[in-house]
């Protein structure tokens, strides 16, 4: 007659095996999800850069686009400080730099002038956006790959 304990141990081993595999799958799926979210925010930052350059190089001041830039940059910065992107712990200086380079100068009707493509403002926007994207990608690879 088969020992009932042998049967129980077998089932226990099966359950433990399933639990370990299931947990590993969940962790892998969650990490994949986080990577996708971080890729999306990088795309959003690139879109912000495009919108900011379009705004600053436009021939005339556009109040709606100016307001949109403020909200776009706000949403990006808030998302980068909340879960799960907050886990990346992007330095505040990178976030401040993005907002400042996008919305400090040439953003209001009273001081707007159409910027040439090679102006300092355009150069600074490109740098701030690119540096932030690189920072996100580097940190993502380090902690979520």
């Amino acid at each position: 007659m088969e020992n009932p304990w042998t049967n129980a141990v077998t089932w226990l081993m099966v359950f433990i095996g399933w639990a370990v595999v299931h947990r590993a799958t969940l962790i892998r799926d969650r990490r994949k999800e986080k990577r996708e979210i971080s890729m999306q925010i990088c795309k959003d930052i690139a879109d912000l850069q495009t919108a900011a350059i379009d705004f600053h190089t436009a021939s005339q001041f556009d109040a709606r686009k100016s307001a949109d830039l403020g909200q776009q940059v706000e949403r990006i910065i808030l998302r980068l400080q909340k879960s799960p992107l907050g886990e990346l712990e992007i330095p505040l200086q990178n976030l401040i730099r993005l907002r400042r380079k996008t919305t400090l100068l040439n953003i209001d009707a009273s001081n707007f002038s159409s910027q040439p493509a090679g102006s300092q403002i355009i150069f600074d926007i490109r740098n701030a956006a690119t540096d932030l994207i690189i920072c996100i990608e580097d940190t993502r690879e380090r902690i979520w790959e």
Partner: protein, 104 residues
């Protein structure tokens, strides 16, 4: 003394000067911040939570403008207490107070 930017001034503050619209930084500084600084309360709580889409030009004109108007950075940093969901906003404002002429 408490100032709720989004509720008392404007939900979408924007612009640097009076010519930039009704909820600009110069107006916020002159009608809210300076009167609060001249008031009897030592601590001034500034709640940024209900304002949306804050741009650097508004922040710089509001707070960096106080230093240009003659207020000491140390006094402003000591008296202002900020409330915000976004720590980067508070840090940026403090930078404008400390180095008000850096970028602008």
């Amino acid at each position: 003394m408490k100032i709720n930017l989004g509720k008392q001034f404007g939900r979408y503050p924007a612009g640097r000067y009076l010519a930039d619209g009704p909820f600009n930084g110069q107006k916020f500084r002159e009608e809210f911040l300076i009167p609060a600084l001249k008031g009897p309360d030592d601590e001034i709580e500034i709640d940024l939570s209900d304002a949306r889409g804050l741009k650097s030009s508004f922040l710089e004109e509001s707070f960096g403008g106080l230093v240009r108007a003659g207020y000491e950075a140390d006094e402003l940093i000591r008296r202002f207490k900020f409330i915000s969901r976004d720590p980067s906003l508070v840090e940026e404002i403090l930078e404008y107070i400390r180095n008000q002429d850096q970028d602008f």
